[in-house]
Symmetry: C2
Subunit: 210 residues, 2 copies
């Protein structure tokens, strides 16, 4: 199994970050303790994603955080980023693993224990499970709740990160399911003080993982 | 140098093909003599592109035509399509070649002899040069004209395919520049009778290449 951290996993979204650049969002998230960053911006061309990713990789490498590229296996490989995250509309896992080789970290979005097991058996290194709760940034995603999240964690041996509607009030319950981290979008990158909010989440996550 | 044909090179575009599916457009283009197909649809997810590409690959393999995927190196590799075409907003050529390995055909869009030479030296197997004339389907592309097209052909040893505003009246002049084929979009896939139009273009191109 590959050695990487999830813990506080921050996902970028140009529509939520109040006009601040990806680099600023990532820099402040890392300063607040984020250990994994997912660069996600469907509006960027491959070339722009490579240019943006290069700058962000400089930031994540300083703190030895994990950089995951959303959707594009080719861009992740070109950048030599640590990984790629595949949603349900992205490349099928077995094909992605075939072209990515053994070293690239591949994450997959799952909503059920069955799908989680399938993903583990077909090349995923970690899972993003959710939406755990209704959320602002992914309001169309079906909500799976804490019980299904716990079943997903039990079904697999690879790490699971929870996503969707996580806040400082429900974080403790989320971490009690056995996940290795929490993926945050709006609660962190939509905040006025990104670093301060990231610090609250990362401290709480790290306490639960002790 | 890799062995593949350009000749009549048809590019799909869901906005121009009058509601006909990619499969129908490709099937009729091949029946009319197209020897290369570029699957281009920026609106499809990676997963949809893989599903569509699989069906189209069944069609192109029957006639031993070349299937080129627009933009996404990962999808081209996943499908085991013959190649990928990279525009100016897509992955930089040296990175694309690095991750694609030596066998995938890589095409690149160029507008000058200098850029053509650079592309040849950085991993391109063929060039798409244009827009040769003002065109309906790429109306924002700068027009380079026949003289620049001829200079591009002279600057490189890899095959060049002309693109942009090519019709049955100017095709002969275009082929006289030394290109190995012509890329057609609206004149073929926007036609009522795709097969009939493809047949007119492919016959004229093949006559010039004798």
């Amino acid at each position: 199994m590959k050695d990487f951290e999830l813990k506080l996993y921050v996902i970028t979204d140009p529509l939520i970050s109040r006009g601040r650049s990806h680099q600023e969002v990532v820099s402040r998230s890392l300063a607040g303790g984020a250990r994994a960053i997912q660069l996600r911006d469907k509006g960027l061309s491959a070339r722009e994603l490579v240019e943006e990713g290069r700058e962000i990789l400089r930031l994540t490498r300083r703190t030895r955080a994990t950089l995951i590229i959303n959707d594009r296996v080719d861009v992740a490989l070109a950048l030599e980023a640590e990984g790629v995250h595949l949603g349900e509309e992205d490349l099928p896992l077995p094909l992605a693993r075939k072209i990515a080789g053994p070293d690239l970290i591949i994450g997959a979005t799952v909503r059920s224990p069955e799908k989680a097991l399938w993903a583990q058996e077909n090349g995923a290194d970690y899972l993003g499970a959710g939406a755990v709760f209704p959320s602002f940034s992914k309001d169309s995603a079906p909500v799976i709740g804490l019980d299904t999240l716990r079943e997903i964690v039990k079904a697999v041996s690879i790490p699971v990160v929870a996503i969707g509607g996580i806040n400082l009030s429900n974080l403790s319950q989320v971490m009690d399911t056995g996940v290795k981290g929490a993926a945050l979008i709006s609660s962190v990158i939509g905040a006025e003080d990104i670093e301060g909010e990231a610090e609250k989440f990362s401290s709480a996550i790290n306490r639960k993982l002790l």
